[in-house]
């Protein structure tokens, strides 16, 4: 029962808000939404405790969904260590962000803002469905559900063209992933005769490795779409058009991480098809580097963090790909805390300027006006950069360590990514909070309802790293820290921070001049290696152009013309015949006689 409440409470919250939101008002809706999240968190903590203490997964069948020929798909909930803990983390972060959003969205109250909370609740429900479903189809339900929620939330300010476009892009690209995902499910069904996770885990050893690899890659396709990995990545930066809590919740802490969770969830499948893991690692590694490079050239407050998210997710995939499932999941957890924190802090800055400021170079020296935000951001940034002893250090270090264990090349790549991470996040921090005052409007510190969640998250961001050992222990995958790598990582992080400090605080190099001299490189990074242009201008516009062309030239002028021309042809023949019918009786006779003559010929040719 408790386990059902975990997933139902956000749903109930959603329903209440959806049906009565208009009556009960925005604040009440927000509170219901928070209650839903909180309740869910409480119960999930309880369940996690149960699961962890008893070491027995809890499996609940809900109802029969769909009968197939030899199998009945039924929905159920499955709590094991992985899902229980992830659920707890997700509900925890979500609840905090819900609370934060009350402050953030406050100035929009009265303008149907209850919708926002409905969407958030819906999102949480769908997310929990992903986490807790006991079969792949259930996961897919949640998968699409979070996609929808993300679509709605990105497009929350749908009056603007930017948000509308971003939401469209997000959903469509996600659908590409979902397309692969659903065939992954179908493939699994034919491999295992079932799509229940437990059946799959049982059967992985008995099936053909190559076929399993195909299934794994199809599933991974879904993960790629959801996590904004290459090549389905362009939606993620654009998704920052949504309100900041959304960015924090969906596009940093939870939803995008669902891809990682999925791979971890069905890890046995991947594990038994090692070739597929290489693809995972490759995609993750390249995305990590790609996104980190792109992040260095961005100037949008949230986009930098978005690219950072992409990069960190890439790192997690890299970890999954080289076999460190637990490392990836742990990084997912810590990342949820500090990235949410970063977003909330960034949101705090944006909120301070009445939602008008989006570029980091529009503001400056904010530490004077927003000391708490500054602190929070710094904590988040340090955690992200992986500075000892913040949580980022522990999780990232574990990944880098594992990577070096497997492949030196990937290890170097991970190190470079760390360096870049430290650089870009501190570039943002220093530009915004130090330096000259570039903003014209007056900035102010955010109110308590926004600060408290940040503080809580900051505490988690600082402290959660120390649970690394405990976390690994839960999964039985304890890993010693390599001191040399740890030291190296910290040094790399500090170097990155140092560079940022030297450039943006000390002004050692004039940034504008640097950009000028590295213009090509800078543009390349800023344009995400022109992938966005490629997708938008060539693929999307090309598709539209091509469609319009075919519609105008083929559908209208050919297929439909054929149909219409039959009518014209009939009329034309009719006119001709009409012309033959002169009205002279002699002509009538003549025609009849002609007929007789021709028929006589037929008669003679045919014989008796």
């Amino acid at each position: 029962m408790e386990s059902v409440i975990v997933i139902l409470s956000p749903l109930i919250a959603f329903l209440i808000i959806a049906f009565f939101g208009r009556k009960i008002g925005d604040l009440a809706s927000a509170i219901i939404c928070i209650l839903g999240g909180a309740l869910s968190f409480l119960f999930s903590t309880f369940i996690s405790y149960q699961v962890l203490s008893s070491q027995n997964p809890i499996h609940i069948k809900l109802y029969n969904f769909l009968p197939l020929q030899n199998f009945t798909i039924s929905f159920g909930l499955y709590f094991d260590t992985l899902s229980a803990i992830t659920t707890t983390v997700v509900t925890f972060v979500s609840t905090l962000i819900f609370i934060y959003s009350v402050g953030y969205m406050h100035n929009l109250f009265g303008q149907w803002t209850y919708k926002f909370y409905a969407y958030l609740s819906l999102f949480l429900f769908a997310m929990l469905l992903i986490l807790l479903s006991d079969n792949l189809l259930g996961i897919f339900f949640g998968w699409e559900g979070v996609g929808l929620a993300s679509y709605l939330l990105i497009g929350y300010f749908h009056e603007t063209k930017k948000a509308a476009n971003a939401s469209l892009e997000a959903f469509t690209l996600n659908r590409v992933g979902d397309w692969l995902f659903i065939f992954g499910i179908i493939y699994c069904f034919y491999l295992f005769g079932s799509i229940d996770l437990l059946d799959i885990f049982k059967g992985v050893n008995d099936v053909n490795k190559n076929l399993l690899g195909v299934a794994a890659l199809l599933l991974f396709g879904g993960a790629v779409g959801k996590s904004g990995q290459l090549p389905l990545h362009t939606w993620l930066p654009n998704a920052m058009a949504g309100p900041t809590p959304v960015s924090a919740l969906l596009h940093a802490a939870t939803m995008v991480a669902a891809g990682v969770y999925l791979v971890a969830r069905v890890y046995p499948v991947f594990d038994n098809a090692p070739e597929s893991l290489k693809v995972v690692a490759l995609v993750g590694g390249i995305t990590a580097l790609f996104a980190a490079l792109s992040a260095t050239a961005q100037t949008d407050i949230k986009k930098i963090i978005a690219f950072s998210t992409m990069s960190q997710l890439g790192l997690m995939y890299l970890a999954l790909g080289i076999g460190d499932q637990v490392g990836a999941m742990f990084h997912l957890t810590t990342h949820a805390f500090f990235k949410a924190l970063l977003f909330l802090a960034a949101g705090s800055v944006i909120h301070a300027f009445g939602h008008h400021v989006h570029d980091i170079f529009e503001v400056g020296n904010l530490k004077k006006y927003m000391p708490i935000t500054y602190g929070m951001f710094m904590v988040g940034a340090l955690a992200l950069a992986g500075v000892f002893p913040l949580s980022g250090f522990w999780s990232k270090d574990r990944i880098i360590g594992s990577v070096y264990d497997v492949s030196f090349g990937f290890g170097v790549l991970a190190s470079v990514v760390s360096l870049l991470t430290a650089y870009y996040i501190f570039r943002e921090a220093f530009v915004m909070f130090h330096g000259k005052e570039r903003h014209k409007d007056k900035a102010h510190e955010s109110e308590g309802v926004m600060v408290v969640p940040m503080v809580v998250l900051a505490i988690m961001a600082v402290g959660s790293g120390f649970f690394e050992g405990w976390y690994s222990g839960l999964f039985g995958a304890h890993k010693e820290i390599h001191l040399n790598i740890a030291v190296m990582s910290v040094v790399i992080a500090l170097v990155g921070i140092g560079i940022a400090y030297l450039v943006y605080v000390r002004g050692l190099v004039e940034p504008e001049r640097a950009y000028e001299s590295l213009k090509t490189l800078h543009t390349t990074f800023k344009e995400q290696f022109f992938t966005e242009k490629l997708y938008h201008k060539i693929l999307a516009n090309g598709y539209m152009l091509y469609s319009n062309l075919i519609y105008a030239a083929f559908e209208k002028q050919f297929i439909d013309k054929i149909v219409e021309s039959t009518y014209r042809l009939s009329n034309g023949i009719g006119d001709f015949v009409k012309f033959l019918h002169t009205g002279k009786i002699n002509h009538y006779m003549w025609t009849a006689y002609l007929g007789i003559a021709i028929f006589l010929i037929i008669l003679i040719v045919m014989g008796g």
Binding site: N586, H587, W590, Y593, L594, I596, A597, L600, I604
Partner: protein
Amino acid sequence: MQWMAFLIFSSLAILSGIGVVALPNPIYVIVALLSALICIAGIFFVSGAELVGALQLLIYAVAITVFYVFVLTAVPWEKALKKESHYKVEGLISFPFIVGLYLEIILVFIAGVTVSPQGQIKELVTKFGNTEVIGAILFSKYFLAFELVSLVLLVGMIGAVLIGRKEDQVYD
């Protein structure tokens, strides 16, 4: 002898027939038609169908021709002379087909006609005479058809009167 008469009558009939088709003046056409009908009646006589031949002369050559003459006077035939009496183009186009029809008939002949004579009318005719025999058939077997003929003639008469009468004589 029979052949000679047949040939003479038939060639005259055909000649008159050509006249019917070719002559421009309607009055001459009537004369040609009359001549053709008389020649055909001659063929009938030659073939021993005296009754039909006689009726042909009576009904056709006299009654119907008078009809035509009557109508031609009602419809001033001089008017017709002011115009071309034939459609030349149609004639030219259709002539090959007419010839074709003839050729085809000949072809049919080459293919062969097999008719098995089976009746005994000749004997009856020699016994009772042609008219009696026809009369016997007409009033036994074809009695109903004969009644229909009378009805046809009646209807034809009524129709001619109905349609041809002067319309302003009828009150509205």
